[in-house]
């Protein structure tokens, strides 16, 4: 017994070494074959695609008077991204990519007991902050949520298993869960954009599909100049110019998530 176990261990050790030694050979073999399959085929960015080191937004809240001004912005986002409307069904199932929030809820840490009247009643537009240190990405066990090279915190819906760890990790409530099949609740769908399915989390994608086609996000376009969009690390960008000349605040910046949505108040 003793002997045969020793033999077994010896053989196992030698085989492990042999496999380790052969690995480069195996790899070379595999890549040779892989290349054959995709001979001349290649991948490119679209020529018009907009790129950045870290996309960011500056929202000028002075340009919004009432919640009415926010409506078309919210509407266009939800419409082009096939966001279902559960508001008439069950409030707990509501899915939102961008929505309106009161100051005291959007900036709970900053609200003093006595906020000035304008701010107190001002509608704030809130969306995913595309954080520079996103806790949702750390929490996601499948890498369905990840930070892209241009700073966008994006979701690969194909990989989302609906565990909702990301929702627990996001301190801004930027994420919504599809408790039911969303399709019947999309009034009029944009056929060029996919819908989601039951059991998947979703949130603002910073209009990744529009950036790829050289367009700025839809909410920026619909805001009539109230929202600026640009590269946070390009000193010449529109957002940097605004940040240089205005006092801005961010949501719960003290948590260290590095939100990239800035608000001029």
């Amino acid at each position: 017994m003793e002997n045969s176990r020793r033999d077994f261990l010896k053989i196992a050790g030698i085989s492990a070494l042999a496999v380790a030694g052969a690995e480069p050979v195996l790899n070379a073999f595999a890549s040779e074959h892989g290349e054959e399959a995709s001979k001349a085929a290649g991948f490119q960015k679209e020529e018009k695609a907009l790129t950045a080191k870290q996309w960011a937004m500056v929202i000028d809240t002075r340009k919004f008077k009432s919640a009415k001004d926010l409506e078309p912005i919210i509407e266009v986002c939800h419409k082009i991204h096939n966001v279902p409307d559960f508001s008439k069904e069950n409030k707990r199932h509501i899915i939102k990519w961008i929505w309106e929030e009161e100051y005291k809820h959007a900036f709970p840490g900053d609200a003093s007991g006595f906020t000035d009247e304008r701010i107190e009643h001002l509608p704030f537009l809130v969306l995913c902050n595309h954080c520079e240190e996103p806790p949702c990405v750390r929490a996601c066990p499948t890498k369905a949520t990840f930070k892209r090279e241009d700073g966008i915190v994006l979701m690969d819906f194909h990989r989302c298993i609906g565990c909702r760890f990301c929702m627990a990790a996001c301190p801004y409530g930027s994420r919504s869960f599809n408790f039911r099949d969303p399709r019947p609740f999309i009034e009029e769908r944009n056929p060029q954009f996919p819908t989601r399915m039951k059991g998947v989390v979703e949130k603002c994608n910073f209009c990744a599909e529009r950036l790829a086609a050289g367009q700025v996000p839809a909410c920026v376009e619909a805001s009539k100049g109230a929202i600026a969009f640009g590269d946070l690390y390009d000193p010449e960008s529109e957002v940097r110019k605004l940040l240089k000349s205005n006092y801005t605040i961010r949501r719960k910046a003290g948590l260290g998530t590095g939100p990239t949505i800035y608000y001029i108040v």
């Binding site: 001349a40 991948f43 490119q44 679209e46 509407e75 419409k79 056929p191 790829a212 619909a222």
Partner: protein, 146 residues
């Protein structure tokens, strides 16, 4: 030693019935192999003459190709695929594949049903965007934003 089988008749009958039942699917379907599905190409697909890869490669490997497209588009933000013949295509199941093959029932489904696979692409991707796109409009003040 004297070997004896009790209830011989019942036991043998039982074994025979069991064997017949187990092999039932095999002999029942003998000689009735389902015919290979016939796919219908739309006029657009016929006019295009070639797909993003050769017909044989597509038959065998369209699922791997789509998976690679997903990886490239979602994670690496590359949206253009250049075919082996050097022709560029936007990597999109709905907007590129289904633009030609707008007949899912006679194209995708026939083979998938035949081989008994149920891919869940269609839970999210829209199968015939062309038919719907004309009707889709966003409101006045955000017309540009499509």
């Amino acid at each position: 030693m004297n070997k004896q089988m009790y209830d011989k008749k019942n036991v043998i009958a039982g074994i025979v019935i069991f064997a017949v039942l187990v092999s039932f699917p095999f002999w029942y379907n003998l000689g009735k192999a389902a015919p290979a599905p016939e796919l219908v190409l739309t006029d657009a697909a016929k006019a295009a003459k070639e797909c993003v890869m050769s017909k044989e490669e597509m038959k065998a490997g369209h699922m791997q190709l789509l998976d690679m497209w997903r990886e490239k588009v979602v994670r690496e933000s590359d949206r253009i695929y250049v075919s082996a013949k050097g022709k560029p295509y936007v990597m999109s199941l709905s907007n590129t594949c289904m633009d030609c093959h707008s007949n899912k029932a006679e194209f995708c489904d026939r083979c998938h049903n035949y081989s008994s696979v149920t891919p869940y692409c269609w839970d999210c991707h829209i199968d015939n965007p062309k038919a719907e796109v004309k009707n889709f409009k966003v409101s006045e003040n955000s017309k540009e934003a499509k």
